[in-house]
Amino acid sequence: MRHISTFFYTLRQGIANLFRNKWYSLASIATISSCLLMFGVFYSVVANFQYIVKMAQEGVSVTVFFDEGLSDQRIQEIGDIISARAEVARINFVSADEAWESFKEDYLGEYADGFGDDNPIADSANYEVYLNDVSRQDDLVHYLEGVDGVREVNHSEITANTLSGMNKLVSYVSLAIIGILLAVSMFLISNTVTIGISVRKEEINIMKYIGATDFFVRAPFVIEGILIGILGCAPPLIAIYFIYNRVIDYLSERFMMLSQLLKFLTIEQIFSILIPVSLAIGIGIGFIGSFSTVRKHIRV
């Protein structure tokens, strides 16, 4: 009963602290919001970039042609061998007739009528192989070239290398920017915490002289810090929610010609990661900030 009463008292004090030091609270919320807004914008850009690259990668395929007159059973076996590879996402069998129809449609148009029912590329049945990681294309191509019954393996090395390189570049740039953002955040937060220390010092001293335990002194401050963290999450998330769709609409309209290439994540997909991560960062910063502020003065 006493613990429940202390818990609610602590909770009330944590909430009351927000209003007692409203300018400090506002400054702290603004600091956390600024950091999370930077993080949110950056995350939205990077996540979309990675999504676009991933979509492009999924469109990259390796084409496997067979020896002349290879039996259907062997073709099926080769399909099973390819599917079993870890780097293969899916394969698609294209028969000689389908290949000819596609060729006619893409390159010959009405001139194809001259060929009648003949199929001049009768040995062009193939597997289109799609990878889940284009950086492993070379390995796969080498392997496929050695498979019995495979005549030729077609692939675009430049496309695969470009996409693989872009993926790496995005990862490195992401890491660097996250590092810079963290450093900026810590600087801003430590400044805000320093302001908080001068406000708290006397109060913490008084509590300790009266005989308050470390927990009793610290708990309301920590609750206050966590609340500041949660409140600091809201403005950037709301801002990103309203701005994101407008930016996506603008980009889709502006670059309509590239609509096949530029596919963006929905706000729901962005928020499925951004909300929990922002909350974790906000609460984490609030907790660590308040905990460390109190710690400096608690050993009285």
Binding site: R2, T6, N21, K208, Y209, D214, F216
Partner: protein, 229 residues
Amino acid sequence: MITLDHVSKTYSTGAPALNDISLHIDPGEFVFIVGDSGSGKSTLIKLLLRELLPSSGQITVNGIDVGKLKHRQIPKYRRTLGVVFQDFRLLRDRNVYDNVAFAQRIIQTPGREIKKNVPSMLSTVGLAGKYKAKPKELSGGEQQRVALARALVNKPPILLADEPTGNLDPNNSWEIMKLFEEINATGTTVVVVTHNREIVNAMKKRVIAMNKGVIISDEEEGTYIDEAY
């Protein structure tokens, strides 16, 4: 109740604050500790509060060896002491009621008892009608009464007062001292650090005089004697 046995305190700067002090205060006593600035009386209070540790010697309060207390044991020890400071040290953003109730909440007193005890204590110090006021809305004397109510609401066996009248006019100083006497009459040990000659001389209590970190006199019904310094 309070025993100092050959206690010395030297600060990290090398400055000696107390030099081989020994004294004993019995339960229920009213003691003035007097001396000029730098005499070591504030250091003595800080040692009793376990804000500082002695460089040597032993301090025993209510049977507890204060120097051997672990950090986590300090809060419980401090609850056996009521403390009043010259600058009141009230929580400025809380009203009178909450300042006094805070001491009760620390010891996890049930809410219904707090609602009974706090008004009763405020009534004892003559502030029953001002429980909603914030410290800045009160006079110095009233703020010191709030501090006194806070110090006493948990009924500690010892009351320590560090220059309690230092920021008060003579009338308020006397009012506070009368309250100390009333509290002492109920059995609480009262230790008052002061350099208010008029009060010390008029009250005829035990007076321990300090100078440059040593006790230079200790008299029952003593007075603040200038010659001592």
